[in-house]
Amino acid sequence: MAPKASSFVGPGALDVSFEVNGHPATVHIPPHRTLLDTLRETLGLTGAKKVCDEGTCGACTVLVDGKAVYSCMTLAIACEGRSVETVEGLARDGQLHPVQQAFIDHDAFQCGFCTPGQLMSIAALLRSNGAPSEEDVTRAVTGNLCRCGAYPNIVAAGVAAARKAGRA
């Protein structure tokens, strides 16, 4: 079937459907609503944090189709039909994701506010690189600011998480 000629939708709210942490979700939102606000305010998933809200700090990092992105600079409407993963989806069946456990083991946070974003950036890295070096992990979290300065432990946790996942 030929694609339908497109026209504009909005600016009022409309239904947008995508997958969130493996479950289908339909939200009724206007086109200017960001993915971050949709996750937090419409879907009640407050793991992704709203800090700079301008694509600078990384606290809102989630995965879209398996890749780490800033949800504050992503329109929810642009996620139609795609897969979104948040920190709430990392643990499975009551078991922490290896990177979550590694953050605890390595004391990789102080205030913890940047942690969900750090976790998602490293989770994305581990999918494409099963044995990342310290440099790989450092590069992966370049876009995630930690003002407590927990970087060395974050990097150590990322490297250890890969080893742990490899053994699992």
Binding site: E54, Y70, A78
Partner: protein
């Protein structure tokens, strides 16, 4: 953000019909949404280019050079081993650009069309000349990040790391409008804002940037990208230097020196290129060219360091071509 209408066309032709003065294109959105959140851009409608899947990806045809679709994510060029064999300077430049998230979201076309980072331009409270106001606040204000070369009414600095690297390979861009297409030199996509031209880009409101082309002959050049930043990562260029040349028997030909972060446009240091043409890339010659690249510099009160740093980066980049 002000509410807006939204469309996601499936073809370039459809996109060009939907675009207009109040309907602007959005690709990765990393710059466009920033401008909209800060009230600098307030379009009535957004035309998402994300459905134009034909524009995602690159191809090389023997004899025809390299063609990069404008919707190709920056990450894909950064991490492709095949692409790195053809044009390694691009992944070199991209590895230092922005953050992994922004490179995943951002596209080639969006990077080339991003607006200046001038903090007066980006702040809604300042009615600066580039936004239609009466004066350039950076000229008298805090201008550490601004231009030292080629500025007229506006002293903004061109932010892209990718554009200078591509211009060093004589890149051109394909633009498609409702009434047909045109191909222009990538360098001509940029203009120093002046007079009635209060914009850094020459693309028309109804045009879509569809692809970047590199001619086959230019691919024989070797190149180096160097970038000075305020921090080791996630920083726009204080100065970036892209140099390219064909080097045979120790002599440089087709030399290109293109600077980012120092002028309102990606800045080609043509007189410095001339100094090197046909010459050996020894230290004295590279130093002379580096001095030449900044001979016309007119630093503002806070950005004289760009000249000092820029000269040294040009010298180092040129020297690296000799050693390559």
């Amino acid at each position: 953000m002000k509410p807006f209408g939204y469309a996601r066309p499936r073809s370039v032709a459809e996109a060009t019909r939907l675009l207009g003065d109040d309907a602007v294109a959005i690709a990765g959105g990393t710059d466009q949404l920033g401008l909209m959140k800060s009230g600098i851009a307030v379009p009535e409608r957004l035309v998402s280019l994300s459905g134009l899947t034909d524009l995602d990806g690159w191809t090389r045809e023997r004899g025809k050079g390299l063609r990069i679709g404008a919707l190709t994510p920056l990450t894909d060029l950064e991490t492709s081993a095949g692409f790195a064999r053809i044009l390694p300077v691009v992944p070199q430049a991209l590895a230092l650009a922005a953050t992994p998230q922004l490179r995943t979201m951002g596209t080639v076309g969006g990077n080339l069309l991003q607006k200046t980072r001038c903090w007066y331009y980006r702040d809604e409270a300042f009615p600066c000349w580039l936004k239609g106001g009466t004066r350039c606040f950076a000229l008298e204000g805090d201008n550490r990040h601004h231009a030292v070369l080629g500025a007229e009414e506006c002293v903004s600095a061109s932010p892209s790391d990718l554009a200078p690297a591509l211009i060093a390979y004589d890149a051109s861009v394909e633009l498609r409008g409702a009434r047909g297409g045109r191909t222009i030199a990538l360098a001509d996509l940029y203009q120093a804002p002046h007079g009635a031209k209060r914009a850094e880009h020459t693309i028309r409101a109804t045009e879509v940037l569809t692809a970047v082309r590199i001619p086959e002959a230019a691919l024989a050049r070797r190149a180096t990208f160097l970038k000075a930043m305020d921090r080791k990562a996630w920083s726009f260029a204080v100065v970036s230097v892209s140099v390219a040349a064909r080097v045979r028997d120790g002599k440089a030909r087709d030399v290109r020196i293109v600077l980012g972060g120092v002028a309102p446009i990606p800045w080609r240091a043509r007189s410095a290129e001339t100094i090197l043409e046909g010459r050996a890339l020894d230290d004295a010659t590279c130093r002379a060219a580096a001095d030449g690249a900044f001979a016309d510099a007119e630093p503002l009160k806070d950005n004289g360091h760009k000249v000092t740093i820029g000269r040294e980066l040009v010298r180092r980049a040129l020297r690296s071509l000799a050693d390559a």
